[in-house]
Symmetry: C2
Subunit: 520 residues, 2 copies
């Protein structure tokens, strides 16, 4: 395998069997600039005429009607997160039909998809394209048990890959909490209401075939339709598509951890002292305890200073809805709702706007809304002295996170803040070199820990600005050394040469690879 | 030029210089069925990164920034109808820049575009793709003064040609009554509010470059956005984009003509006796005096029978809004608003839904809403004994109408009614052979005139059904002979061999050609 170094010095294969040619990462904006004049043809889906019957009795019939074949790419979305029940129903039906070598192309994968392991083992599934990998499936892939490397994409990069036709979707499955019999569907009504269907909106527009899977058929015409009937081939009614109660689990739960709360407060204090904290500012908070909590402290600071913001983006939590309702923000752009109650806000508030992932963060569009962001607050599993961030692999090298919108928002926002406890369970989070670069340091401005705040040296403007403040601004190496004194020396993790996952940066270049753990 | 007969027996050239290969019409559904498994790639537009300044001072700067070149295709929409002021501003700027051989690809052209003549004469414009041609420009083209034949497309066919990449749009110009500085724009706010932007929504999605031309810049983020910022390259502020007071002119004015009203009443009486007139029915009325007036009589019949409909489509007039507000319809799908006051209804009523032309009537999508129609009432300039309809050329062969949604809705609806006075100004409307077939008789069920109602013999079910009624059901030949006794013998119109316009059926095949008038 011929390797090439990307601009971060990471070794990237030029070609991977089963995936194809790879383009190395070249910098946050470089590759986008070079390719911006290429007007490629995306996949448009053309179907059928008059009198079609779209409503089908079950998923197997839909697969048959879509002419499912070995080697096809099936797309899914993860708005139900740990509560998703649709992807596994579809793959179980594919398995029953003895179809092989399917590519599962999901906006992310969660604990609800650990069942994929047996379908990888029996050859039903041979490729995984996703933003997140965690739990048993993450460990399984880290152990090298998926033959073709998984491909990790950001939410924006996934939208880009679809719109450019790089990943043609043969069949898109949309778990829709409400649909009429012609496929007009949304996520805001019905017993399984999950909120935004932002990722699925892209799939439905570009996929060859689109199948709505719903547990709630309503009268025609359903309105508002997140996915309109003209993009839908078939509608399948099932007993249940997912459990919305499980959306707000894991990284979207609000923290009670006092260290996380202290970090969130500190991040908010920092932001409130920057020139970005002003009337009309926009912001986003990512998943993860401290970053979600920061929204709460931001509000207090806004109240104190009598400042009103412009728009918020997300990953929308109840906190963000509160900010909208109380007038601290005038608009929410919602690609994914982080708890089920958020759906009600989309339904009733015209300024709570559901948006497709293309609009959220596809870097090749004529601008995605993350590019308009003033401030984003994001979490990290590891950071390094170059401000690179890992949100994908554990300190022992195991897949346990998601790229998500992290690299997208970091690149787009004017001020990118990483909130991160300096160590966890006696293991430092600030390291020499992160296991996996998900978000390049070039796009990260500030790292906030409970032991001080480090500003990226390239942001001399911020460093200068903060000289007058009493905030604990420190060199990142200093914080790192402090932490190393307090913690155990992290065990050396040994890897095999074999690549188990490729990390795509949002522009389609490869920013890093993940290798198999050496088993003793 | 090699000619080929289409399934209606009309002679079609296989190839036209400057246009390319042509596919002959083969029947309402045949070609669609044959090509439905072809999944073609439509144009997706990829642009730019962070920090772009979209707001430009004038149209000329926008043309420069879009790298305008000789031979490019510029798209426009006609929601302002006779009040449009944007297309001519753009072409005047193109002319000033000495750019040549532009294709003007507009959803339609009206009297407000007669100014194009001088730009055709001086070589600025060399191709015209449109739905309508009328007034001085229609006469000019009928006289053979445009070198390359004009191409007439239906609204659905235009959307199809764009989505399939058959007509790649280099620059789409959208006259938007409101826009923010990043291009989120709509037609429902501002001093020039015109209502739906349904045709432009397709252009913006697929064009290489999209330019919003507006006379009303609002705060970011504008919502609801008919066209979202991720599809927009540039925004230009001009003094005025159009005069909404001129939208409701010509064929969208409600008639006071007693014969038209009598025909509308008769059509409504016919419909009320069919099985389609029932709870939950959907309907559309086309442009033209008698068809618009029919909506009024339909309402009276619904009231009398205590029937509530489902959805209405349009070309939406105030009459249709009244039906929605009074509960006779539960939803309006609006691709084009036929008077300026309709904009207010879209703004305030969530069941008045703006839709793109793709959803309205693109025949290759996974279904367009015209396919769900129960009843459509349409006008005609000429009909013939085979129920073919001409809405494009006058009895003397001059271009003076528009294909519009006529063939789309006729094909889609379960019951297609043509309302047409049997003669106008002593010239029969029922002829042996229409000058130009726009809508094939195969998709027309009933012709209602003031001298009787003719049912298409292929609809034996309707003939049987109406036997018990007291309505004046007559053979179309009988009506025709009656009329001929009352009218002057129409002058023979002589044509040259030269083709001045090609009429595309909605599926992209050529249904007819229009030839130059022989000048004495």
């Amino acid at each position: 395998m011929k390797m090439i170094k990307n601009s971060l010095g990471r070794e990237i294969p030029e070609f991977v069997e089963g995936i194809g040619d790879l383009i190395p990462y070249q910098g946050v904006w470089e590759y986008i600039k070079k390719t911006q004049s290429k007007h490629l043809h995306a996949r448009a889906c053309y179907g059928i005429g008059k009198g079609i019957e779209k409503l089908l009795p079950d998923i197997k019939t839909a697969l048959e009607r879509c002419n499912i074949k070995d080697g096809m790419t099936l797309s899914f979305h993860h708005h139900f997160r740990a509560g998703d029940e649709t992807l596994m129903q579809v793959i179980a039906a594919v398995n029953e039909m003895r179809i092989k070598d399917i590519t599962v192309f999901s906006s992310s994968l969660t604990s609800s998809h650990d069942g994929l392991i047996k379908y990888i083992e029996n050859g039903t599934v041979s490729r995984i394209f996703t933003s997140g990998l965690r739990e048993k499936l993450g460990k399984f892939i880290t152990d090298g048990k998926l033959k073709i490397p998984a491909v990790i994409r950001t939410h924006g990069g996934r939208a880009r890959s679809i719109a450019l036709g790089e990943v043609p979707i043969d069949i898109a499955f949309v778990a829709a909490p409400s649909s009429d019999i012609l496929g007009n569907s949304n996520g805001i009504e019905g017993p399984s209401a999950c909120g935004s269907l932002g990722y699925a909106m892209v799939d439905a527009l570009y996929a060859d075939k689109t199948v709505i899977v719903t547990d709630n058929i309503v009268d025609y015409p359903l309105h508002p339709a997140s996915i309109p009937e003209w993009q839908v081939d078939f509608v399948v009614k099932v007993d249940r598509i997912g459990n919305p109660a499980k959306i707000a689990t894991g990284s979207t739960r609000i923290t009670k951890n006092p260290i996380d709360l202290a970090i969130a407060q500190s991040a908010s204090d920092f932001i409130a002292r920057t020139p970005y904290f002003m009337e009309g500012m926009s912001f986003q908070v990512g998943a993860g305890g401290a970053s979600l909590a920061a929204a709460k402290f931001m509000k207090e600071a806004m109240k104190e200073r009598n400042i009103k913001g412009s728009f918020g983006i997300g990953g929308i939590t109840s906190y963000m809805v509160e900010l909208l309702e109380e007038g601290y923000l005038n608009t929410l752009f919602d690609v994914q709702s982080f708890d089920a109650v958020v759906a009600k806000s989309i339904a009733k508030n015209p300024r709570h706007i559901e948006i497709p992932a293309t609009y959220y963060s596809d870097p090749f569009t004529k601008n995605c809304v993350v590019n308009n962001l003033d401030i984003v607050i994001l979490a990290a599993l590891q950071v390094d002295a170059d401000f690179n961030v890992n949100v994908m692999t554990s300190n022992t090298g195991v897949l346990m996170g998601a790229s998500g919108g992290h690299p997208d928002t970091a690149a787009g926002a004017k001020l990118t803040i990483i909130v991160c406890p300096s160590f966890r369970a006696r293991v430092p989070s600030i390291v020499d070199k992160v296991h996996t670069v998900i978000t390049p340091g070039e796009s990260v401005d500030v790292i906030v820990t409970e032991r001080g705040i480090a500003i990226n040296p390239q942001r001399s403007d911020l460093i200068e600005f903060m000289k007058k403040s009493k905030l604990p601004i420190r060199d990142i190496h200093e914080i790192k050394e402090d932490v190393e004194k307090l913690t155990d020396k992290p065990e050396e993790v040994e890897f095999e040469d074999r690549i188990v996952a490729l990390v795509e940066y949002r522009d389609g270049t490869i920013i890093d690879t993940i290798k198999a753990l050496k088993c003793d």
